[in-house]
Symmetry: C2
Subunit: 203 residues, 2 copies
DNA sequence: GTCTATATGCTGATAGAC
DNA sequence: GTCTATCAGCATATAGAC
């Protein structure tokens, strides 16, 4: 499929580097976000690593993209399934402080429209909110079988706002947890979801 | 009251520097968080500025502390008053992107227990949540004797969790707004507060 | 494709004149 | 108290050998 053998191999190596970087950052934590640290971790020299990525920023964005790729087997399904997936990811995050810190740091730096992470975070946020809104869609809308009562938003809140609240809590609780690892991220998000999603007795 | 004239003057100058730094960062934004940039902004050389602060980290923490000091005239009063104050601060924040970015950046860096901002953020968070829990106490609860039914937020949520959700939304919505300034921070927080606070007909 | 060596720039911090 | 001058360190990025 690859146009050139060397190109295909380069891509494969890139993926291998990203997977290894994820492992190392998850296990050993992430201290300073320097290219050299990642290079050491994946067993390459600093220029050797930058051979595969145009810049430091691109490297970090790709690491985050890879993480999402591995987390989001699929962000769909019923509200209960989706909810379980969200909470599962959050619980997993609680075992990878380095990745959470990397994510939070890049989220701030990506504020600059010029930053390579800018588009990534814009699209990621939009995708997350869309998945939430789709999964938590009020009963009777769209392709939901008649008779099967489903979730619905509370108090006249529109789906976009509910999704933004959900996203804000997911992000904000990470900051609290980074500061104090005893904070129960999943528990707080779960409580919010209970509040945000009016559940009916469809079981 | 000052033990020494020179000391008093140093303190006064420190305050003046912090106020000026706040103005400049609020107006012109904040680009890289370098001591030199702040020094230029407040009209001092880089060593001239560091004469007043032990390190870069201390400088930035003091800037944030000063901002809180100017914002929090008093975080108390009735729930309606408190709510108005919170929203007022958030609306004001929307006119000072540089300060929001500085805050968010420091919040991540303060995750490290060794970082000078660590204690600041721990205490700030605790204070914010305490103010919320105190102010959002259901009507009539006030200083109830122990043993009686404790106040409860919606859906069996305890006050601490509600406060953490509030804090998470306040912080998280800032990240969304930094990424996309069209996001209505105050509106989202306001909507959450409607959801979070069970209002009784006490007015 | 990966290395060593290096260019270049920036950072925070300090020494010492005034 | 504030400056000029300077330091040492570390960052990313690149050149060029192998």
């Amino acid at each position: 499929m690859a146009r050139r053998g060397s190109y295909a191999k380069g891509v494969a190596k890139r993926e291998e580097i990203l997977e290894r970087a994820l492992e190392v950052i998850a296990q050993d934590g992430y201290r300073a976000a320097s290219v050299k640290e990642i290079a050491d971790a994946v067993g390459l020299s600093q220029p050797g690593l930058l051979h595969y990525f145009a810049s430091k920023e691109e490297l970090f964005v790709e690491i985050l993209r890879k993480r999402d790729e591995m987390d989001q087997s699929s962000l769909d399904g019923s509200i209960d399934e989706l909810r379980a997936k969200f909470l599962s990811v959050i619980e997993h995050n609680a075992s990878t402080p380095g990745l959470v810190e990397l994510f939070s740091r890049q989220a701030v730096e990506g504020a600059d429209p010029q930053h390579p992470a800018h588009d990534f975070f814009l699209q990621r946020g939009a995708g997350l909110r869309a998945a939430f809104a789709e999964g938590a869609r009020p009963a009777g809308e769209e392709s939901r079988p008649v008779g099967e009562e489903a979730s619905e938003f509370v108090a006249g809140m529109d789906a976009e706002t509910a999704a933004r609240i959900f996203q804000a809590v997911a992000d904000g609780v990470q900051l609290q947890w980074l500061l104090d690892p005893t904070v129960d991220m999943a528990g707080i998000v779960d409580t919010l979801l209970n509040l945000l999603i009016t559940r009916s007795d469809h079981d």
